[in-house]
Symmetry: C2
Subunit: 264 residues, 2 copies
């Protein structure tokens, strides 16, 4: 695949898509509808952005696959050739109520190898990006992780609400031992917090391919641990849990909390 | 008191303080130390900003009281004359690890009446402000709360970790009924989220006067409900819990969750 050409176009389309989103917000003309219930929303903007990418990809790269959240993309269950995995708006609920804390998330794979990744925090105007082998960048500044390997006690964790409220696999107890716990409600940006060192671990459940594709590629690039909660390898095309963390935090969560629950 | 003059100077000092913080971050020269433990940090920047305000207030308003987080202000237990209540950096832990999600928080009282309030999100460059009687502004745009009175089911709540993890007063159950729960780890900005309608309720415990002074004044200005968790009136100079929400959410949390626990 022509990595440089795809990178150039992906960046161009992301910025154009961000512009569309900002215009829709400014004009307050988008529609909100429920998908599976009142906590699972989709807007006409999500759909518009997905259509925008689907059209561009079909035009420039007609042999590429698109896997995306809303209803205009085919759902592929296997990697074949080049696959774009897109969340047109990750954090739709935040988008609707806050007009902040949402992102466009895009991961591009050749067969099952991640090659390019982008998370665009539209409201802040920040682009997180990665060409595999060249590192991770935030707005073209290379990410250097200064807090290489803190202990759980020195760590800031991000976890989803259900995990904390149900003390799932004792992970709320792990949160008590950590320095602090945060919860932003937008998987791609929660992964980016770990990528740049604003957090040391993020644990969530029931994530879809488009929630994790970009963050997964960047985590691998930075040698962070990125697995399912049980420690198994992730197949990005499958739905499931996620635990991304620096090495010691990942190990401690696994050994002192998650595996203890499985045994008992 | 000369409200306009205090407003002019408070804004000037806040912006100058924000500049000092940004410079300290850029030069990476500040020191971090623990107060009561590894989750309770203070930096030399917190202290520097508090000193900066203490000096300015003593110079321009020598009769005014200053109540503030770090060790350079006297702790007054009663309102008398004009009292400035300052958190030089609210969200110190976020400041240290994220260089984001922190704020300078300032509430000014005449006797026990809130008169002026400011929360400065330094990293984003946003100033939330209020002169009582004139409304609340974000960067000089007046706050108009569009979501006047949503139900709990339609609401986004912010709660602290301990409340969720221990299902304190059944409030984690309330979180399950809400549309979503968030947790940012910075009381003043969590209150601002409710003030501007990015959230519909915020519940926390063990908050100090400087955590809540500014948000309390703004909440009263906007006719939001702002009480202790048990529904009682807040004396801002006392440490305690906080529940700030739009009317129906406040009522539902109180009736369906908090009071049910007290009875059982």
């Amino acid at each position: 695949m022509n990595t440089k050409e795809i990178d150039r176009l992906a960046r161009e389309w992301l910025l154009e898509a961000g512009g569309i989103i900002k215009q829709e917000v400014a004009e307050c003309k988008y529609q909100i509808s429920e998908k599976t219930g009142p906590s699972d929303l989709v807007t006409s903007v999500d759909k518009k952005i997905e259509k925008f990418f689907a059209k561009k990809i079909a035009e420039f790269f007609p042999t590429h696959q698109l896997v995306a959240e809303e209803d205009d993309a085919h759902k592929f269950s296997t990697f074949k050739g080049v696959t774009w995995i897109l969340d047109p708006i990750d954090g739709t609920l935040n988008f609707v109520q806050q007009q902040a804390n949402y992102a466009i998330s895009l991961g591009i794979f050749e067969e099952n190898h991640g090659q390019l990744a982008y998370v665009f925090d539209v409201e802040r105007g920040s682009v997180y990006s990665c060409i595999v082998g060249e590192g991770v960048f935030v707005d073209n500044v290379k990410v250097e992780r200064l807090r290489v390997d803190p202990s759980l006690e020195e760590s800031l964790l991000i976890m989803n609400f259900g995990i904390i409220a149900s003390n799932y696999l004792n992970l709320a107890d792990a949160g008590r031992r950590a320095r602090a716990v945060r919860l932003y409600g937008v998987a791609s940006l929660e992964m980016m917090a770990v990528i740049v060192g604003q957090a040391d671990g993020y644990i969530s459940r029931s994530l879809m391919p488009w929630d994790i594709a970009a963050g997964y590629i960047m985590a691998k690039e930075l040698n962070l641990e990125v697995t399912r909660i049980d420690g198994s390898e992730i197949n990005v095309l499958e739905t499931g849990s996620l635990m991304i963390a620096s090495k010691e935090v990942h190990q401690t969560l696994s050994t002192d909390y998650i595996k203890k629950t499985e045994i008992n």
